[in-house]
Amino acid sequence: MSSFLSLQVLVDFLAATIRMATPLGFAAVGGVFSERSGVFNIALEGMMLGGAFGAVMGSHLTGNLWVAVLVAGLAGGALALVHAVACVSFGANQVVTGVALNLLALGGTTYLSRVILRGANVERVRAFEILPIPVLGDLPVLGPVLFRQTALVYLLALLLPIATVVLLKTPWGLAVRAVGEYPRAADTAGIGVTGIRYTCVIVSGIMAGIGGAFLSISHVNMFTENMSAGRGFIALAAIIFGKWHPVGAFGACLIFGAADALQLRIQTYDLGIPYQVPVMLPYVLALLAMCGLVGRSPAPAAAGIPYRKEES
């Protein structure tokens, strides 16, 4: 009986790990594209928050969950477009622009949720429910962990290999990496630096927006103010810890997701530890991952530096 219980606990924990890692994974895998093309995107946080709000609005207005995901992607993508215009076209400072967009997303979603949702913050909307995959979902252990999740988890499972192949195995992916390492050489070889950076930043915004949708309309069904709660920054740490590789970044998200799942369990099992201590766990782990294990990290050489064609 006790062994059954502990197995059940483990299965629940692993399923929760996947659940907590998914929003991080969307943001981190998208962020890999942005950073590999040479644009830091610390606005991932704001893009997730915008996506979370957009998803609730989309679900509220249409009742269609895929429209809601689309709205979330558009919200994240719209913020990303601003980031791209500022950082790629104008060559503005990428960190400062990111800080501004995070403030804009925090203020904007809080303002709009007060105005539109009448400050209640509790308006329930339709949300994704668990979608068991036939046959696979009945497997022991693996079934509940991997194949009894919501549709967005499967969407990420589909996007992750596609993103990896596109970035590492296609000519376009090579162009992205070239632009992020040495834009002038890429430019000389006839690669459009501006177009590639725009595309990658916007892809990153759309992915972060969908990650935000997971926060608000998968498992829960409402928007709360500042509900992204730093997950965009944890995704940034995951990108670095994963060495700017989509699979590596997702792997890091699984570790941070496990920390999140663990802290939720510590809270519910009432082990006599004040809840603030476990809540810190994912942030502490992300910090340790960045300082202890990264060392001299191979960041894309041109990341953070605007490219100006006309100057030498």
Binding site: A92, N93, V99, L106, F233, M280, M290, S297, A299
Partner: protein, 368 residues
């Protein structure tokens, strides 16, 4: 006015234009939601400056933004982004509360400086860790300072829910600080505390340091070009570590003001985001300490007037954060406007070059 001076006028005042456009877009946002932007902004101005209570409230909100904003500006001057001012504010509040609660028997003349020093050390050490990781291991300080904000906020939450909690309190907060650790009030009828004087003094001090002292020259040299500074015999590491410690200490003092001057207790989540207001204030001031006085007054007024606006006009106070985000975004665009082709055309003809962007132009150069 000649063409050159006209161009200078346009570019020198970019922060002002950015703020004006941000307020304009904020007004559009307010009217889209069915509010009247004029009454809303009037309520903000009236709430912030209309009477002694409003002005006192503005000063109490300006004080932490000014102190932390000076910290952010100093870090930017040495070439580091300190986006962790919010966390350093929390650590500073914790340090001040600890000394204010548990070091009895001192006269105020000793107790207040000791508590302030504790807040500065706590905030400074919290900022020193990301700086240390940056200079020794090349870890991006932007992300570490951001992550450490969450750890600091939860850490203070733990302390006021646990070891430092007032017994039987309905809400997590610490006991009242000893009387000898209360900052004096400068406007007793409006609760404005001496933290604002501390901020003004720090602004003047930092201005003199940056522009009149050899150390300030070293700081700016490192900020402009670490390799050149190193070639010139300046220790880049030591300068960065020292500046970041002082940066965190200033933010820590902002937290001390909240605890020792305003509530006399350490509260859970006692800062509503002053650390982010501070980034906006520093950036809008071009990291010039004396200009941070003006920008922190502006953002302090937005916060104090914003609550009246929410009560009187019903416009959510979150519009203030929108205006902050917009003003930073527009300013950062404005500062690189001279790279934009139509602006280049406007500038052509030998006019003076616009002031270079004061914030850090990141070069991914290895520090050694």
């Amino acid at each position: 006015m000649g063409g050159g001076r006209w161009r200078l006028f346009v570019f020198r005042l970019i922060p002002v234009w950015a703020l004006c456009v941000a307020l304009g877009l904020g007004a559009a946002f307010i009217s889209l939601a069915g509010g009247n932007p004029w009454t809303a902004y009037w309520a903000v101005a009236h709430g912030a400056f209309g009477d002694v209570f409003g002005f006192g409230a503005t000063l109490t909100r300006m004080a932490p933004i000014l102190l932390a904003g000076l910290g952010v500006a100093l870090a930017a001057r040495v070439g580091l982004f300190n986006i962790g001012a919010e966390g350093q504010i929390y650590l500073g509040g914790l340090g001040a509360a600890w000394v204010g609660l548990y070091v009895p028997g001192l006269p105020a003349a000793l107790h207040i400086p000791l508590a302030l020093a504790a807040s500065g050390v706590a905030g400074g050490l919290w900022a020193l860790l990301p700086a240390y990781l940056r200079v020794t291991r090349g870890v991006n300080e932007v992300i570490t300072t951001l992550l450490m904000n969450y750890i600091a906020i939860q850490g203070v939450g733990y302390v006021v829910n646990g070891p430092m909690m007032e017994p039987g309190a309905p809400y997590p907060f610490s006991p009242v600080l000893l009387d000898s650790a209360h900052l004096p009030l400068i406007l007793p009828e409006a609760d404005a505390h001496a933290g604002i004087l501390l901020g003004l003094a720090a602004a003047v001090g930092l201005h003199l340091l940056l522009h009149r002292a050899a150390l300030g020259y070293r700081i700016r040299a490192v900020g402009f070009s670490p390799p050149a500074a190193a070639y010139g015999g300046i220790s880049v590491r030591r300068t960065m570590l020292g500046a970041m410690f002082v940066s965190g200490a200033l933010a820590g003092l902002a937290g001390a003001g909240e605890v020792m001057g305003l509530k006399y207790r350490l509260f859970d989540r006692f800062s509503p985001g002053y650390g982010f207001d501070a980034i906006a204030a520093a950036f809008l001031a071009g990291n010039e300490p004396l200009l941070v006085i003006a920008t922190s007054l502006f953002f302090g007024a937005l916060r104090s007037g914003g609550s009246l606006m929410q009560r009187a006009v019903g416009t959510p106070v979150a519009i203030v954060i929108v205006i902050q985000g917009l003003s930073i975004l527009l300013l950062t665009l404005g500062l690189v406007l001279h790279h934009w082709e139509p602006a280049r055309r406007f500038l052509r003809g030998g006019g003076p070059r616009p002031a270079p962007a004061p914030a850090v132009e990141r070069t991914n150069v290895e520090l050694s």
